[in-house]
């Protein structure tokens, strides 16, 4: 029976004559379908549109006060820390996880960089490497607990948050290392604070680093196998494993990358605030998650584009600066930012729906 089988049931006799052309339908033409297509294939486009819209609106309301190279690059600077952390957060959220320890890891890494240099007199470059290693290690612990012990990421990173933050306070003895000292003795720590002035625009290396980081991650996620695995694991871990992806390795690598990026954020933080301050970054987790979600990445994993998080962070930055310049006072600003966060995502949802 194995040779030249009697082609099954008799009703299948006509199958050999079945057409073998691929189904073709006329493509709908015109601008609208084109835009829809673009929105579909580039998920980060939607937050980008919201971002541009909000810049335009504030530009109209505030004129040159807002719509100046100075103010616009200021937003980049103000957003850089949250932005870098949001990049780390995006990776974790894409795997259907969440990282509440980002802020703590960032601060501890910067404290390590500072204290190693000043308390133990280790050369700054070595201290910086130690700080980066420290962040990566914290990330590894997170990843190991999530992947191997199979604990929920929320709990793991919540616990790590407390542990790392307390370690940070205990280790640093709550002492700030002052900017003047750093400038004098280890200016490398402030590297990311270096300013490039172009006319009114003032870019810092930190802001540039953030932009490059996002481009790099976008490349990694879209163009390499690792990136596809990150999406697959976040989409459905079990299916990913069944279909041959080493889900645990991917998870651990993602949390390590997150830790490393947070450590870079810690370095950038020294550049931004000048000093090494153990009390910074307390809101980094909630702010980074906000940026990621506004950027259109699903908290359930597997869906969204990392560039969206950059736009998400910038949207919040634009709102904050814009509202402040409009003269809203602090509580009103918080209230309005609350409204606008919901509004931004509602617009995002609406654009998606209209383009479906």
């Amino acid at each position: 029976m194995s040779e030249t089988a009697s082609k099954g049931q008799d009703y299948e006799s006509s199958l050999s004559r079945a057409t073998s052309s691929v189904a073709e339908f006329e493509r709908r033409k015109g601008l609208v379908p084109k835009i829809r297509g673009a929105l579909h294939s580039t998920p980060a486009l939607v937050p980008l549109i919201v971002l541009v819209l909000s810049i335009v609106v504030f530009g109209i309301l505030l004129g040159s006060k807002f719509f100046s190279p100075f103010a616009l690059t200021l937003i980049l600077q103000q957003v850089q820390i949250v932005g870098i952390v949001a990049a780390a957060q995006s990776l974790v959220i894409l795997t259907a996880g969440i990282d509440l320890s980002v802020g703590a890891i960032m601060v501890l890494s910067s404290v390590v960089m500072g204290q190693f240099t000043f308390r133990y007199g280790i050369p700054a470059p070595v201290s910086i490497l130690c700080g980066l290693a420290c962040g990566t290690l914290m990330g590894f612990i997170n990843g190991w607990l999530v992947a191997k012990v199979k604990l929920p990421p929320f709990i793991v990173t919540l616990g790590m948050w407390q542990i790392v933050l307390a370690t940070n306070f205990l280790y640093s003895a709550n002492e700030t290392i002052r900017a003047q000292e750093i400038e004098a003795q280890a200016p490398l720590l402030q590297f990311f604070g270096t300013v490039i002035a172009l006319g009114g625009a003032r870019l810092t290396y930190g802001a540039i680093f953030m932009l490059l980081l996002f481009l790099f991650l976008a490349y990694m996620l879209n163009q390499t196998a690792w990136g596809r695995h990150v999406y697959a694991v976040g989409d459905d871990k079990e299916s990913a494993e069944l279909s041959g992806i080493e889900a645990n390795k991917v998870l651990i690598s993602v949390y390590m990358a997150s830790g490393l990026i947070c450590a870079f954020a810690g370095w950038a933080l020294v550049g931004r605030i000048g000093s090494v301050s153990p009390t910074s970054g307390q809101l980094a987790n909630i702010e980074s998650i906000t940026a990621v979600v506004i950027g259109g990445i699903s908290l359930f994993g597997g869906r969204g584009a990392v560039m969206g998080s950059l736009f998400g962070a910038l949207i919040v930055g634009v709102f904050t600066l814009g509202l402040r310049l409009l003269g809203a006072d602090a509580q009103w600003t918080y209230l309005l930012i609350g409204v606008l966060i919901i509004g931004a995502v509602a617009v995002d949802q609406w654009i998606r729906k209209a383009s479906a």
Partner: protein, 273 residues
Amino acid sequence: MDQEGIGMTIQPVVQGRNIVKHYGHVTAIDHADFDLFPGEVLAVIGDNGAGKSSIVKAICGAVQPDEGEIKIEGKPVRFHSPLDARDMGIEIVYQQLALSPALSIADNMFAGRELRKPGFMGTVFRQLDKKRMEEFARQKLTDLGLMTVQSINQAVETLSGGQRQGVAVARAAAFAKKFIIMDEPTAALGVKESRRVLELIQDVRAKGIPIILISHNMPHVFEVADRVHIHRLGKRHAVVDPKKISMSDAVAIMTGAMEPPPVEEQQLTPKAA
């Protein structure tokens, strides 16, 4: 059920003995045996819930049995995950398909063994060769007669039921080295597409790779199978030769309407070569 006496020299590719799996109160596998021999198509048939999917999952490491032993080519193995099995060249089409819904067809097809661009971009920047993967995926689907897939970049969750199944079957067939397990590969497929899968199974066998085929479609089973393993209530109930037994007797044994033939009349090993 010793089979050493009969076939003598043929070593089974897979040999499972006394496999047991409980889930809480539920008994999914109840001291089941299993044998797959080189180059054959072994069909597994049985009622819904008989434990067919469970036993093949136990074989490929997707489920850890509570008891029993499994040998691959004579060597006892204990797979901790399906990855271990895949590394040995074992491919499986799961009944629940195991696709990542949000990813594209090509991404799913190449999950875990992506192709990189040739040259610098591939080795240093590790860039994927998306074009090559898409072409390959498109080709495989067309081979299966799935010509209605309009865009190869569609997410799998937007495919029709049959198209999804096609992706899973194409993936397994393309990459298997040692053997393939197909758990109801044609359940959602159309007439034409099912026919292509049967042809594919015969092609694979022709290459010398054995296949385990789980199916409820008796005409299909009797058309391609070399031996038919009848599973009932978590156990191997009988193994019969589809050329010697009628479909209706096989169905009767499977549903409990008829006693299985005595062991010596069963087809526990393929006919001596």
